[in-house]
Structures are given as C-alpha cells and as structure tokens.
C-alpha cells in the first residue's frame, strides 16, 4: 500500500540553527532545486528513520511573514500552499532560538494566526543552559496551545523526541485553533475588505478561508509590500483602491498599522512566555563580546579582515600542491595507458588530446576550489561573515551598494551564478542591479585555474616582505584585487548615472560565534565540488571534444600517425628516434596551423599581438567565452596536438615555457602572463552567469551591456598591462 507523502516545512528566524537541524533530520537525502517563477533555492529532503514517507522543506530564514520582496514571498507562498499549486503543508516546524525567545515569538504569532498545524522546536538549549537560563517547555506548550520540543541540533540532543513529536502531529493529533492577536475591529474590517475584493475585483486568493484572511491582512498591514503587489497584479487597480480605503479606515480607528502589529504581537509574545523563562537578566555570550571587541575593533578590525583574506590565499596555495601532483600523475598514467592500448589514430587522439588533456586540465584545480569553498563555509558558520559585512558596509555605501551586497559579492568569489541569485535579498532594485552588474568582476573559482597555471609557470617562488609572504601568493591576491579595483568605479559610475537613487538600509543581525558544524560545512563543500566536477564532466567535456575536433580537422594525419607508430615501437635512445620526434613536432605543428582552430587563430592574431599574445593564446581566449576554464582545456589540446607535449615534459606548464614565436623568441614572459590574467580577470566569459543575469533582471539589456562592457575593459586592461610591463 502506497502511503501518501506528508509535507513538513521548516521555518524560523535566521541564525537559529535551522539548517543544522534540517541536515540532521534529513541526512544526506537533500536535493536542491528551484521554485517555479522565482530562483530562490528550494531545499527538500526526506525525514530519516520515518515511519511513513515525510518530505522536509527548508525555507529561507525570515524574521516575519511580512514579505517585502519576491524572495521573502516564497516563504508565505509555501506556507499558504500557493507555491506551484502545492497543498498547504501537513505540519510546520518553527525553529526558535532558546536565547532569543521573545523576538522569535513574533514569527510564531504570525504562524499561529495562519492556523497551520504547528510544532515549536526550541533550539540551542545548550547555549541557554550555559547561560543559566531554564526554559519550561511544558508551560510554553500550554500557553501556546501547540507542542514544544527542546533540542540542540548541533549537539544532537532531543532529536529523537522531535522526530516522535513530528510523527505524532502527522498521524493526526488535533490542532489548535488559530489565534487573533489584533483588536476585533481589525478583523471586522479585513473580512469586509475580503468580501469587497472577491465581489468587486474578482480576487480569488486561495482555497482555505484562513489563508485568504491571512493574505488580505498582510496586504492591509504591509503598505507597498509584496502581498499587495501580488493582488494588484492579479486583479488590477480596483483591488488597489479597495485595499487602500480599508487601510485608511483602520488607520483612523486604530492608529499607525505597523505600530499596532508590533505592539500586539510583542504583547502576545510576553503573555506566552509567562512562567516559561527563569529570569530576564541573562548575561550575553562573553566569548562573542570578547571576539567582537577584537574582530570589529575600530582600528584593527579592517586590518584583521585584510590579513585573514591574505592568509586564506596563502593556504590555498600551500596545501593544494600535494593533491594537485596526485591528480597530475593520474592524468599522465591514464594517457599512457590509452596510448599503450590504442595505435595512433583519430580515436586515440580524441581520447588523449581531447578528453584527458581537456578535462584533466580543469580537474587538477579541484583541490584549490575545495579549499576556497571550505574557508568561506567555515567563516560563515563561525559567524565571521556578518562581521565582515559590518566592517565593509561604509565602503560599500560610498559606492552606492548596500552592506547586504557584501555576501553576494563574496559568494561571487566562488562562483558568480549563486552570487547573482543571492542578490534577491537586496530589497532596493537599484542596489540589486548594481550588485548584479558588479558580481562577475569578483574573480570566481573558474578563473583560479588560469591564474594558478600562469603564476606557477612564470612567477618565481620567492619570498618577499622579509621572507614571510610568497611572491606567488601576492600576485594571486593582486589578480583578485584587479577585479575589485575595476568594480569600484564601475559601481560608483552606475549609481551616479543609470541607477541613480536612494540606497537600501542595513539591518543585520550578528549571530553569536560558534564552533563550526563540520557536518554542515562538509555538505556545503561537497556540494560545491560536486557542482564543479559535474560542470567539468559535462560542459567542459563537450567543449573539449569540440575544440579537439576544431584542432584536428581538416588535415591529413597519415604521416603523423606513421611517425608516432615508428617512435613507439622503436627502442628509445636511437638517434633515428630523435630525428623522428623532431619531424613529428614539425608535422603536428603544421597540421594544427592548418586546422579550423589554427586558421581562426591566425585571423585574429593581429588583434591580439599588441597584448603580447600569439595565435594559440588568442584561440584559447575565444574558445573560453562559453566558460573560462575551457582555456586550460584549449591550451592543453593545442599544445598536445601541436606535438609540444611529450613524455618528458611536465605537461602544459612546460609546454608554455618552451613555446616560441616563429623567430624563436619565447612567447610567454611575465608581462604576457600578466596580460592574459588581467584579460581573464575582467572579461565576461561565462554563459551561465549571463543567463542568470537575464533571469534575475528579466531583460537581455543587462547581460548584453555586461558582456560588451567587460570584454572591452578586458581587452584594454590586457593591452595596458602588456605594454607597460614590457617597459621594465
């Protein structure tokens, strides 16, 4: 007998440990996806150890069900069953912070008004205990009329009881009637408005009357909010006038509506906590206070921030060399394996020069990317990210961006696609657009392989500043700064011209510091790496094959195959073998130049010569427009196909170092390497980002503008870098 899947939704304020609880309850069964019509991430899992199938949905943290943006509206939609025609959830589990009960109950009052089946999970009991705070959950349950379970998600306490309570509620325990914290006049008016809307403006909001009432109330209370906007969009201006007249009536009789809501809800919250809390005079978390006095120090705070960023870059370099070497050896081993199995020919070339060289070239940077994501995840879980936003907010506002832009921009250092999507939390549309436009300038993890390849190949491994800092680490940091330095005037210019207007406010909660939850971090890093590998496995795989084909065809490869077969079947060390190898190199080079790729490269060579590039680099840059990591694959294929990479060379790096112009001059030197890196730092080479931009801004104008602007800037930047660099 197939049992119907029950749906349980997790809600709560931000920083209540909701994500940790979600991970504990659902184990590794989490899938992420999208809600229809919005691009906020949908996190769905299955309740582990469940008696019947239970789907767990994790909603973004929110302080209230007062939606001011489409992003916040998603929570309301899921709870009211509007989202993608899904039903009302079977149970809502509201996670509250034991140390912040009074404020957390604001949201609970809204949930109780909505009338949905509710269960309260009081999380962080361990933190409460260490502060000498006792919470009488039985009394709270009696006051609230809903079950209350005390847990500590990070310490895995109370989880079994929570699971049992969830089962009990789902199995059909009776649910409390919704509450009405507002004065009666309010409800009378809102019912009248609801009637008017349905008869005069043909507004049909939802099936259930409770839900309907709740949404109308929200529309009345939140002037200019998302609910009102949604109703007007669906039913026209007539609805707007009905709502507005209802609002002014309420204001006349009851006073400022916002005041009324807060007073009523906080009064209710106080009532609910009678007999629940041991005492009000709890001390704050001393460790947090002490750490904040150092990390947000008026003088040292920013210095520590900069130092921390530098440290992270250093570590990424230092700790990834061993795994990288391991991956390189695997790549070499696979290539020789295939070469041993297949005789020279088109298939072998496809596999070795196309797939292994291309995909392997990108995968080798997985250790660095994993480390970068790891550091970002640790800082966020620890609680430092909010402090960083606090420190840089002033600078961001000078640019016309908001402190809330900080996290999307910071995420863009890992990947601009989630960074652009994260801008949904920015309520002000102009700030949001400015942040979206600037996000791709934050050097993403896809640029990291390019930087690492060129820096390792051409920047000496010397130590500067008294032997403490490596030159390579500094240059890497400098490349990241190039993006930021260009982004600053860009944002400033945008806010002064196209996007002129008021900035959005900053109201940010700084959570208490806590030990990072390694499980949560592990999952986050794993997901990020998985996405990277999948992208390598699909898009780059496809791109590698296409590039290989463009470099192989057309051309008669029979002489090349002959030579390869001769070299491989002869004894090494013979003088004849050396002659054959030299001829092979020339032959391979000739074939490459005659291929589609080669011809394309020669056509654009005059345009890229002022940048110090030869046709091969030009080809690499062009091939990278869909996705920047492809340049490694392209260079790998170009040099491999061109016969520059043989068993003695250290792979691509060696090939680059020994690459020459026809007249014998080396192609690559430090200015050339720098100009390539600057180009990649500034160029818009990511179809995924452009597509996300289009989706988030609902027009092609912005992605096209971004593409043209960034590519032009990249060309000029590379030009300047090379020309100036050659002066030294």
């Amino acid at each position: 007998m197939v049992q119907t899947t029950r749906r349980v939704v997790l809600v709560g304020n931000p920083n209540t440990g909701k994500s940790t609880l979600f991970n504990v309850l659902s184990g590794l069964s989490v899938r992420t996806g999208n809600y229809a019509g919005v691009t906020i991430e949908k996190k769905v899992g299955r309740l582990a150890d469940a008696v019947f199938p239970v789907e767990l949905i994790d909603l973004p943290g929110t302080y209230s069900l007062n939606p001011r943006s489409p992003d916040e509206f998603v929570a309301v939609q899921v709870l009211t069953g509007e989202a993608a025609h899904e039903a009302v959830p079977d149970l809502v589990v509201c996670v509250v912070n034991a140390t912040l009960l009074r404020r957390n109950l604001f949201l609970v009052s809204q949930l109780r008004e909505l009338g949905c089946p509710l269960l309260i999970a009081v999380n962080m009991m361990d933190a409460a205990r260490s502060r000498g705070l006792t919470i009488n959950c039985k009394q709270m349950a009696a006051n609230l009329g809903v079950p209350v379970v005390a847990i500590s998600a990070s310490k895995r306490e109370g989880i079994d009881q929570l699971r049992a309570a969830i089962h009990e509620q789902l199995a059909g325990a009776s649910h409390a009637a919704p509450i009405r914290p507002f004065p009666r006049y309010f409800y009378a008016t809102s019912e009248r408005v609801a009637e008017q809307l349905s008869s005069e403006a043909d507004v049909k909001l939802a099936a259930g009357t409770e839900v309907n009432r709740f949404l109308i109330e929200r529309a009345l209370l939140d002037a200019g909010g998302e609910t009102e906007r949604m109703i007007i969009k669906r039913s026209g201006e007539r609805a707007k006038s009905i709502i507005e007249s209802g609002r002014s009536e309420l204001k006349q009789s009851l006073g400022e509506l916002n005041d009324i809501e807060c007073e009523n809800r906080y009064a209710w919250s106080r009532e609910m906590l009678v007999g629940v809390l041991s005492d009000e005079g709890r001390e704050s978390h001393r460790v947090t206070d002490w750490l904040d006095s150092v990390l947000t120090h008026r003088v040292f705070g920013l210095a520590i921030f900069a130092g921390l960023m530098l440290l992270i870059f250093q570590c990424i370099y230092a700790w990834s060399s061993v795994p990288m070497d391991a991956i390189a050896s695997i790549q070499g081993y696979l290539s020789s394996l295939v070469e041993g199995l297949l005789s020279p020919g088109i298939l072998r070339s496809l596999i070795v020069d196309g797939i292994i060289a291309g995909v392997g070239g990108v995968l080798i940077f997985l250790p660095q990317i994993a480390l970068l994501f790891l550091f970002l995840a640790i800082l966020e879980d620890f609680g430092y990210m909010a402090r960083a936003a606090f420190l840089v907010d002033r600078m961001m506002s000078l640019l016309g961006l908001s402190g809330k832009s900080f996290l999307p921009l910071m995420s863009s250092f890992a990947c601009a696609v989630p960074g652009v999507m994260a801008t949904r939390v920015i309520e002000n549309p102009r700030d949001r657009l400015a942040t979206i436009f600037v996000a791709p300038f934050m050097s993403c993890s896809a640029r990291l392989p390019v930087y690492l390849l060129l820096i390792t190949a051409f920047v000496p491994a010397t130590a500067v500043i008294g032997g403490l800092v490596s030159l390579r680490g500094l240059v890497l940091l400098a490349m990241y700064f190039v993006g930021v330095i260009v982004a600053i005037p860009t944002a400033w210019l945008l806010k002064r011209t196209v996007l002129r207007g008021e900035s959005s406010p900053l109201v940010l909660e700084l959570p208490e510091y806590k030990w990072p939850d390694w499980r949560v971090i592990g999952i986050r890093v794993f997901d990020a790496c998985k996405a990277f590998v999948i992208r390598a496995g699909t898009m780059i795989f496809a791109a590698s094959i296409v590039i290989w084909a463009a470099g192989y065809l057309p051309g008669d490869h029979s002489r090349q195959r002959e030579l390869q077969a001769l070299i491989e079947t002869s004894e090494p060390g013979l003088a004849q073998v050396a002659i054959w190898q030299a001829e092979l190199q020339v032959e391979s080079g000739r074939l490459l130049e005659g291929s589609i790729l080669g011809r394309l490269g020669h056509i654009i060579e005059p345009a890229v010569k002022p940048l110090g590039w030869d046709w091969r680099i030009g080809v690499g840059a062009i091939a990278s427009f869909p996705a920047r990591e492809v340049i490694i694959a392209t260079l790998g294929t170009v040099y491999s196909l061109g016969g520059d990479v043989d068993e003695e060379s250290e792979g691509l790096m060696d090939a680059l170092r020994s690459s020459t112009w026809p007249d014998g001059r080396p192609v690559y030197n430090v200015p050339v390497a720098l100009s390539i890196m600057v180009f990649f730092a500034l160029c818009a080479q990511c179809v995924s980002t452009l597509l996300v931009m289009k989706r988030e801004t609902n027009s092609w104008r912005w992605p096209v503008f971004s593409f043209v602007y960034m590519t032009t800037l990249a060309y000029l930047g590379a030009l300047l870098t090379y020309q100036i660099g050659m002066q030294f």
Binding site: D292, L391, M395, E512
Partner: protein, 75 residues
C-alpha cells in the same frame, strides 16, 4: 529628541518609538525595536558607520541613518 545614533558606546536606553511607516521601519520593529524595549549601543564600525547595538539579547548592526529613526530615552 534623542535618537539611537546619539548614544555613546556602552550607553543603555529605552525605545520610545520608531518613526516612519515604510518597509524600513517595519523591519526595525520586527527586529525588536518596539516601545519599552531596552537597547544598548555597543560600538561603531571602523569608519563610524554602521553601529552595533544590543536589543532583545541579540546584536544588530544598523546604519546611522536608520538608527536616527529609533527614538530613545537614555537611562
């Protein structure tokens, strides 16, 4: 009229009201800035803005411009 941004770091006060009727003021109220609530200014950011205060037991960062909307009476 004394507002939140006029407090000195370390000084405590009681919230009197939040001026304005827009999204910003409702966000402030949701975060706990309601009449009668105790608030303490903790410190300012390195460049003077934003400020960090403690209310309802949690630390909130606000820009001075938003803090101006919170009318307080110092203790």
């Amino acid at each position: 009229m004394f507002t939140l941004n006029m407090l000195v770091p370390g000084q405590s006060a009681e919230v009197v009201s939040v001026s304005g009727a827009d999204g910003i003021s409702s966000r402030l109220r949701e975060m706990g800035f309601v009449p009668g609530e105790a608030v303490r200014l903790l410190r300012l950011a390195p460049l003077g803005d934003p400020l960090k205060c403690m209310i309802h037991g949690s630390r909130i960062a606000l820009r001075c411009r938003e803090a101006e909307r919170v009318v307080v009476s110092p203790r």
